[in-house]
Point group: C2
């Protein structure tokens, strides 16, 4: 299995099924700004709500082959394993297909995910042990706490400034300083670093007319 | 970004570029049994070797639009950012495209990966900090040591036996026992468990004619 992180923003995604399994996948897909169409005769309350809020399309009927044709990504999550395997068989070779109850019939699986803003971790046991997968996810959530979200924003911002404003020979030492573990949990320390960076840039511009 | 783990076995993958960046991606793709075509006027030694061993196709020239048409997944990794962005622009909306030097032009990124057999972990900082990504990868490699590969095989095997041979009411306690951390590093203990499982099954079959 080859892990990739896809940008699903605006991509047409079809989810067949409207139960709890489908619901959990749809929730993640909406967070990714995918263009979600749910096809299912029935749907749990939240799916109905999202439909009335125009956050997704809901075709209130059984899935047909034409529902699948334009999809970038398909999730077969009906309560019938026959229907799910029929969906996998209809998909074209270039389409991404996940079959919730029979992963081997699709061409991708959805791993457990830990998200801390820009930091994204995934874990899969390739079906060997869903409970190990869940316990590793829990370990990762603890090890990479919520502080990482703002820490990553800080890293992103500083990296952008450094790459834009500093000459190549001084970048490396500036970037290395950022990986000091104390920045992860100490927001104050981050501000001190950022202020120092900004002062350095200001000094550069102020001193320009004199030195040149 | 939406993490998925794809099955690339037999899928047509096109890599534009034959330098070190391309090489590293190709190595991972071959391990996934992807059907790899490299398009590049030049290629590093290993790519040439793989070509002569028929492990991949190598078109020894600049990339053309027709190279991309049938690809399930495209990696633009030439040494020209202009060519790379041209490739991204040529790709059809249903194709998976990664642009090595300008990730935002593609629709997926390739995270750092830790593999222990069936256990697959991925980490990405969405470009905020490649060095943090590398250091988290190192942490994961240490935390989830190579013992996990055989541990996952053990879990997979036992889970298959339990699901096939034991009634639903006794499965849960048997599966829970498996998550005991001592099994991760103690191969002997795993054998004891597996033997107990097999004895249990044998007892079941032996006792059948008497109890029924």
């Amino acid at each position: 299995m080859y892990p990739i992180h896809i940008n699903l923003s605006g991509k047409p995604v079809v989810v067949a099924g409207g139960g709890l399994v489908a619901y959990r996948k749809i929730k993640d897909l909406l967070e990714q700004d995918a263009y979600v169409t749910v096809v299912s005769p029935e749907a749990v309350e939240d799916i109905q709500k999202w439909h009335s809020q125009k956050k997704l399309e809901w075709a209130e009927r059984k899935v047909r082959v034409e529902d699948l044709q334009e999809a970038f990504l398909i999730i077969a999550a009906t309560n019938s394993s026959e229907v799910n395997s029929w969906i996998a068989a209809q998909a074209k070779t270039h389409q991404l297909v996940n079959v919730a109850d029979q992963p081997h019939l699709g061409n991708f699986i959805i791993p457990s995910v830990v998200k801390r803003g820009k930091l994204v971790l995934s874990v899969s046991t390739s079906g060997a042990s869903p409970s190990l997968s869940a316990s590793i996810k829990k370990e990762l959530q603890q090890r990479y706490s919520e502080d990482y979200e703002s820490y990553l924003d800080f890293l992103f911002e500083c990296r952008s400034i450094i790459k834009k404003e500093f000459p190549e020979e001084s970048r490396k030492s500036l970037l290395t300083k950022l990986t000091d573990a104390s920045y992860i949990h100490e927001a104050d320390k981050r501000n001190v670093y950022k202020q120092a960076l900004i002062s350095e840039i200001q000094r550069k511009y102020v001193s320009k007319p004199i030195t040149e």
